[in-house]
């Protein structure tokens, strides 16, 4: 079907061309799904696009060939490519919300390709769209297409996008991280739909992702990329059971990080932070209802839930950014002013925050030394050599060489290093309690594991308490001591980790837990069987 030989791609940087992909071969047969995995920057998306004979702006195919069904896509004239793209080769982008044009109805965007390519008339294509929506198990298939993109949920939009890619019955679809932006419960619906439809139409697909467990469900074969080079390729079961290369093994091993269990909390101890019956609202819209939990010294409390469940809002209440309308926040047994503006320096110092996106959490115009030095000066009053000494010590704590990094700007750091600087800034205030808001979700798995280990070490050495907000249950398993499960602004269930991961569960916890993809390639099939095939996701949530 598609045959890529010794492909080289280069990206433009100032005046010169820098290699992105260095000679990769790729073969794909009809009806086969190939998984491309690798860290960010490994060249997965670039390779995926190159399979369409396409290179983004500022990127070019410098060497090699791409043959699609006997057609040379690299040297084909634009007119020939136009005839193929959208019709025989389709592409599903990572963020459906950003890829749909918000000004047009979904069905109008759906019919565009078939009509343009002369495959169907507008009417035929609309009917076909409805059929596809039904096959993809979208609710109200006859009606949903006539909505605008913002009127349907993220998971539904991603399925509508898959339907759109299917509209001309292409021979090849490239899925570029289609579920990365979705919650675990939604992810399952999309994964199952994609797998079904690819099987039904016997379409070849390239599935790009960084999530190993996902690729294990979807792909027949897996190809691992690292910095533009192929590490290895094998069929899924072989790859999972016996990876050959060191790098692949390290990827597989990431999920094994596990902290030893801590002794149970002394019941008489005063918690560091205690959230008492907090109810909060944005304007008139209530978002938190009677939330109540404690965080004890030296412990990690993981707050889990889907997006919109109120986990970040709970953090904003603790920091005082969103003063609750009801209830109060206690630090070591003392009630704190609810609004951060009324807290004094020492109270502010006690609770620090680490953010999800290190890119927006560090001022891009300040050097690392300035970023970490500011809280040192602000809270401790250190200046000059004393301040420098403290900043150096902090940089060493986060395992960055002080002399190298002190004068760098955030843009000169990798994602993981930026996150470390964010941690150092929090530590600089010498707090007892740190809120970690999805600190690892924007990072590659290997890097994320490093951050988790660092946080664990810091906790052991400094006796810190963490409130760890995440939607990733694997992370919860590896780092937390207690777990709080939230849904729609309420605490559904809470308790020590060991109990939480043992049945019986609250049905919602159960749904969350069972939705986390596992490395077993049969996991999705088994799960769908267990839930009843026609009854995935939506139905399971609806039942509760």
């Amino acid at each position: 079907m598609i045959k890529i030989r010794d492909i080289h791609l280069e990206g433009r940087s100032d005046e010169s061309w820098i290699p992105i992909i260095n000679g990769i071969d790729l073969d794909l047969k009809r009806g086969e799904v190939l998984g491309l995995i690798g860290e960010s920057g490994a060249g997965k998306s670039t390779l995926g696009l190159a399979a369409m004979g396409f290179a983004r702006d500022g990127v070019r195919i410098s060497k090699g060939s791409v043959e699609f069904d006997g057609i040379d896509l690299v040297n084909a004239p634009a007119a020939v490519k136009r005839g193929l793209l959208g019709k025989r080769i389709a592409y599903v982008a990572q963020s459906a919300a950003a890829s749909f044009n918000p000004a047009h109805k979904i069905i109008d965007q759906h019919t565009e390709a078939p009509v343009q390519h002369g495959v169907m008339s507008t009417k035929e294509s609309q009917e076909d769209g409805m059929e596809l929506y039904e096959r993809l198990r979208l609710p109200n298939p006859t009606e949903i297409g006539f909505r605008y993109p913002h009127q349907v949920s993220g998971g539904q939009l991603q399925r509508a996008m898959t339907a759109m890619a299917m509209s001309c019955r292409p021979d090849l679809i490239i899925f570029d991280e289609p579920t990365t932006a979705l919650d675990v419960t939604t992810q399952i619906e999309v994964l199952a739909s994609i797998r079904d439809i690819v099987e039904q139409f016997n379409t070849a697909a390239i599935y790009i992702t960084h999530d190993l467990a996902v690729v294990a469900q979807m792909a027949d074969r897996i190809k691992v990329l690292l910095k533009g080079d192929e590490v290895e390729e094998a069929d899924t079961r072989t790859m999972l059971s016996s990876p050959k290369e060191e790098y692949t093994k390290s990827l597989w091993a990431v999920r094994s990080f596990q902290r030893p269990a801590k002794p149970a909390i002394n019941t008489g101890a005063t918690p560091i932070v205690s959230v008492k019956n907090v109810t909060a609202a944005y304007g008139k819209m209530p978002v938190l209802f009677d939330v109540d939990f404690d965080i004890h010294a030296g412990r990690t409390v993981a707050v889990v839930g889907e997006s919109g469940s109120g986990k970040s809002t709970a953090a904003r209440c603790i920091t005082g950014l969103l003063p609750p309308i009801n209830g109060h926040i206690e630090f070591e047994g003392e009630a704190m002013p609810l609004d951060y503006r009324r807290r004094n320096k020492d109270q502010l110092r006690q609770a620090q925050m680490i953010y999800q996106m290190a890119d927006t959490a560090l001022n891009p115009r300040k050097t690392i030394g300035e970023i970490i030095g500011r809280p040192v000066q602000f809270y401790m009053g250190f200046t000059g050599a004393e301040k420098r000494k403290r900043v150096d010590a902090l940089l060493e704590q986060i395992e960055l060489e002080p002399s190298t990094y002190f004068n760098r700007l955030p843009s000169e750091l990798s994602g993981g290093q930026k996150q470390r600087v964010g941690i150092a800034r929090a530590l600089a205030a010498e707090p007892k309690f740190i809120i970690c808001d999805e600190v690892t979700s924007a990072l590659d798995q290997l890097v994320a594991e490093g951050i988790l280990k660092l946080l664990a070490d810091l906790q052991d050495n400094l006796g810190l308490s963490y409130m760890f907000i995440t939607h990733d249950l694997a992370t919860v398993k590896s780092i937390s001591d207690e777990v709080v499960v939230m849904k729609d602004g309420r605490v559904v269930e809470q308790g020590p980790k060991a109990e939480m991961f043992q049945p019986p569960h609250h049905p919602y916890t159960d749904l969350l837990l069972s939705s986390v993809p596992e490395m077993d390639p049969d996991w999705l099939t088994d799960l769908l069987k267990a839930r009843g095939v026609d009854n995935i996701g939506d139905a399971a949530v609806g039942k509760m």
Partner: protein
């Protein structure tokens, strides 16, 4: 009809030529990525560019070989090409100079600089030197009146010039060269001070509105809306009339009033930009982190927000500077701006504007007003080149 046929010929040649050019490139280079990925439009652009270059060369050749330069229709064209080439060369040399002289920091700066930016830097330095040392450089005083009025520029007695006044004299006999030099001091100096003041007022209030939000934002923004609803030149004129009544015969005070009035009116535009830019910055997590640290408003605005807003503000500065410049020129023409004995480029253009009509048959005569206009244009271009480069540098844009 001939114009139509020419246009048709150009269109046909470039559409066909573009295709042929790309095809030849692809065959000649064994399908190198550069030609393979070249869009058709780009190929047409190359051919069109070549046609324009040929036309320029032909016209330039005609202009230099024609007899009777006094009534030469290509006079300004030839001068423009000459100036362009000279400026490009000088800027290139200036950049080479900058790369080898100075501290390590400036050398590094010049190495990364495109020629256009080097040109801009050079122009700004030249204007600054002229403005500061105007009294030393200028051969005559700016208000010195000579008996010889309306001397033609060029200094050639055969064409009505006078070697004593290389750029001629105006209607009442003041040396144009000296007035141009003093004009740099008055016009540029005042415009620069005004723009700085406008930015100080507009940016501080804009960031304040963005950071505080709520009623402060409402109050400031609505006030700015009201100010912007009144056409700016009319508003300035109105205020200047009042100001000149207050100032009475004190010319110096009137100039100060003008600086403040134009600055306040222009600061509304800066306010809008600063507020919009500020609003996209205050939602960043690092601002939240600073707020939670307990930082004060001053630190937030000047240490966290301002460094991230410099790029758009600088771009606006270049543009605003030119507008302020023109506003001052307009006000001077209307009699309420820079007051008469002081030289000002805007006033000079307006005073001698009727000579521009002579361009067709006596190009030398038309040079006088165009010189002042050219001085404004050159500085505008120079400032914008530098601002473009700074924007490019600070935004980290690639290509």
């Amino acid at each position: 009809m001939s114009a139509l046929t020419t246009i048709a010929a150009i269109v046909i040649i470039s559409t066909l030529g573009g295709w042929m050019f790309r095809f030849a490139g692809q065959k000649g280079s064994q399908n190198a990525p550069y030609f393979r990925d070249m869009p058709y439009g780009v190929a047409v652009g190359y051919v069109l560019g070549a046609i324009v270059l040929l036309w320029l060369a032909k016209t330039y050749y005609l202009g230099t070989t024609l007899e009777a330069p006094a009534s030469n229709q290509y006079f300004f064209f030839v001068k423009a090409i000459n100036l362009f080439v000279i400026f490009a060369l000088v800027a290139y040399v200036f950049r080479i100079f900058g790369r080898h002289v100075g501290t390590a920091g400036t050398k590094k700066l010049f190495r990364a600089m495109p020629v256009t930016a080097a040109f801009g830097v050079m122009i700004i330095i030249a204007y600054a030197v002229t403005a500061i040392f105007a009294g030393v450089i200028a051969p005559h005083g700016q208000d010195q009146v000579f008996a010889l009025a309306n001397v033609v520029p060029g200094g050639d007695p055969a064409l009505g010039g006078n070697p004593d006044f290389p750029l001629g004299t105006d209607q009442i006999g003041r040396d144009i060269l000296s007035r141009l030099i003093y004009g740099a001091q008055n016009t540029v100096g005042i415009a620069f001070a005004t723009t700085l003041l406008a930015f100080f007022i507009g940016a501080s209030l804009g960031f304040l509105a963005a950071t505080l939000g709520g009623w402060v934002d409402q109050l400031l923004s609505r006030a700015v809306d009201v100010m912007m609803a009144i056409p700016s030149l009319i508003f300035a004129l109105l205020l200047m009339t009042i100001a000149s009544a207050w100032a009475g015969s004190e010319k110096g005070i009137l100039t100060l009033y003008m600086v403040v009035i134009i600055a306040v009116i222009d600061s509304t535009r800066v306010f809008r930009l600063a507020r919009a830019v500020g609003q996209s910055i205050v939602v960043m997590d690092y601002i939240e982190a600073a707020k939670l640290r307990g930082e004060g408003l001053g630190y937030l605005v000047f240490r966290e927000i301002l460094p991230n807003a410099t790029a758009p503000l600088l771009a606006e500065f270049g543009l605003r500077f030119c507008f302020v410049f023109l506003t001052i020129a307009s006000l001077s023409f209307l009699g309420v701006g820079i007051q008469p004995p002081l030289a000002d480029w805007g006033t000079m253009v307006r005073d001698m504007s009727q000579f521009i009509n002579f361009a067709a048959f006596a190009p030398q005569v038309a040079v006088a007003p165009l010189l002042a206009a050219g001085a404004i244009a050159l500085l505008t271009v120079g400032v914008n080149f530098v601002v473009d480069w700074m924007l490019h540098k600070s935004s980290g844009l690639k290509e």
